[in-house]
Amino acid sequence: MNKSLRALAKALVGSMRDLLPVVAVVVFFQLVVLQQPLPNVAQLLTGLLMVVLGLTFFINGLEIGLFPIGESLAHALARKGSLFWLIAFAFALGFGTTVAEPALIAVADEAAAVAAEAGVIGASEKEQTGYARGLRLTVALSVGCAIVLGVLRILKGWPIHWMIVGGYVLVVVMTSFAPREIIGIAYDSGGVTTSTITVPLVTALGVGLASSIRGRNPLTDGFGLIAFASLTPMIFVMGYGMVAH
């Protein structure tokens, strides 16, 4: 009991240390640069307390829940030896976690507004909703494909840098053909697809797979799934823009 209490205290101190820089930046800019008093100090402090507690719980939950389940599933699928189910799982994980992502929904709605203003699609609400839904499905599809590609890479041991460089070349080539309004959104959509719960699970999947296949190194082969998940949306969204506009 004493031991777990001490572990908890240590975790809390760690969370506080993680949070200290943000607090320092906000306080400095408020007091020194903008020269205004801090509003609602009581609310600020309770909020910070919740953030510290929340971070501690989250990290603890990762270690006992998300990481083990991700890795054990990767091991079990690798042992089963069925390529089909492994690919199906990879796709489902990428697609399923992205399609309902709130950040993506926000970006898709914004993109529909841009397209309507540019006169690419009609300004009616129905057309905008349709455009936004198409974009969301495109991004979710691209993340599903990304995780599948990443898993195939781990299985085959393909070198990651050629694939990423190839992706970059594709992005650059497509940028010169894609409609101008979609470019900013396409570039940003790469960043919004990977949520805080998806990242640990996908990382555990990659590392688990790489460590259960002979001849793969968890460090050089296990990472890289998220890199694909943030590259393919750019390509797919620009493609969507070229088709839809």
């Binding site: 307390l49 989250f58 990762l62 994980l93 460089v165 900013g184 949520s195 990242v199 640990p200």
Partner: protein, 260 residues
């Protein structure tokens, strides 16, 4: 009022977790067909993750986000930038926005240190590499990358230079570095681009970008407001590879000195 928000956030987080639990559970039951080891512990862990993330988001919404957004608006306000000075009609000089760049860098760095998904990747990387890639080294390297990226991204919005020039130039640097960086770090470096931008960083950075695009004369919110996140994704790749290159260089020099 607060309870309503707590409830909403908790529901939102649950909705995020639900597809994951459904997919993982479905595969476990239908395909693997074997009970999960330590099922109870895993379930407790998932509850911790949901509760922790919800608390984290509510706390941020209570404490930091309103202030951060207000700050982004105030710092980009022409009244602050031209305080006491006569603004030359319509002419904006990029150097007038120095506090904006400083704020962009500081907030990019500090929010990245607090980013839970980066923490998750750093924990894994330290474990997998047997401690060769330190948690703090990786996190600080990524945070420096985000700081530089967001700061440069703000400069781009102020000057109105096209986004894709910067992105293409950054790609060229990344590709060149890839050729020279130690092999071990490359996948991790590519990954760190995607993990930096989630719960903490995106809301504040997006507020900064939109604030800038709204107040700088001649910028269009819809065209110029986007793109900061792309910068925040690209620059960590460079800084993580640079971190590995510097560590390798120092290790080699030390070996050379010992050899003498």
């Amino acid at each position: 009022m607060l309870w309503n928000e707590v409830w909403q956030t908790l529901l939102g987080t649950l909705r995020d977790v639900l597809p994951i639990v459904a997919i993982v559970g479905g595969f476990q039951v239908l395909v693997i067909r074997r009970p999960v080891a330590n099922l109870r512990r895993v379930l407790v862990g998932i509850v911790y993750v949901v509760v922790g993330l919800a608390l984290f988001l509510i706390g941020l919404e209570q404490a930091l986000f309103p202030l951060g957004r207000l700050m982004a608006a105030q710092l980009t306000d022409p009244a602050f930038i031209y305080a006491g000075l006569e603004q030359a009609a319509g002419a904006v000089h990029w150097s007038d926005y120095y506090w904006v760049y400083a704020f962009a860098a500081a907030i990019g760095f500090s929010t990245t240190i607090a980013e839970p998904s980066l923490l998750a990747v750093a924990i894994k990387a330290q474990k997998v590499s047997g401690g060769a890639i330190g948690m703090w080294g990786l996190r600080i390297a990524v945070a420096i990358g985000v700081a530089v990226g967001v700061s440069l991204g703000s400069y781009r919005i102020v000057t109105g230079l096209p986004l894709h020039y910067f992105i293409i130039a950054a790609y060229i640097v990344v590709v060149t570095q890839t050729a020279f960086a130690p092999r071990l770090i490359i996948p991790l470096a590519y990954d760190s681009g995607g993990v930096t931008t989630s719960t903490v960083t995106v809301p504040l950075i997006a507020a900064l970008g939109l604030g800038l695009a709204e107040t700088v004369p001649g910028r269009n919110v819809l065209i110029d407001g986007f793109g900061l996140i792309a910068f925040a994704c690209l620059f960590p790749i460079m800084s993580v590879m640079a971190y590995a290159q510097i560590s390798e260089y120092r290790a080699r020099r030390q070996r050379a000195r010992l050899g003498e």
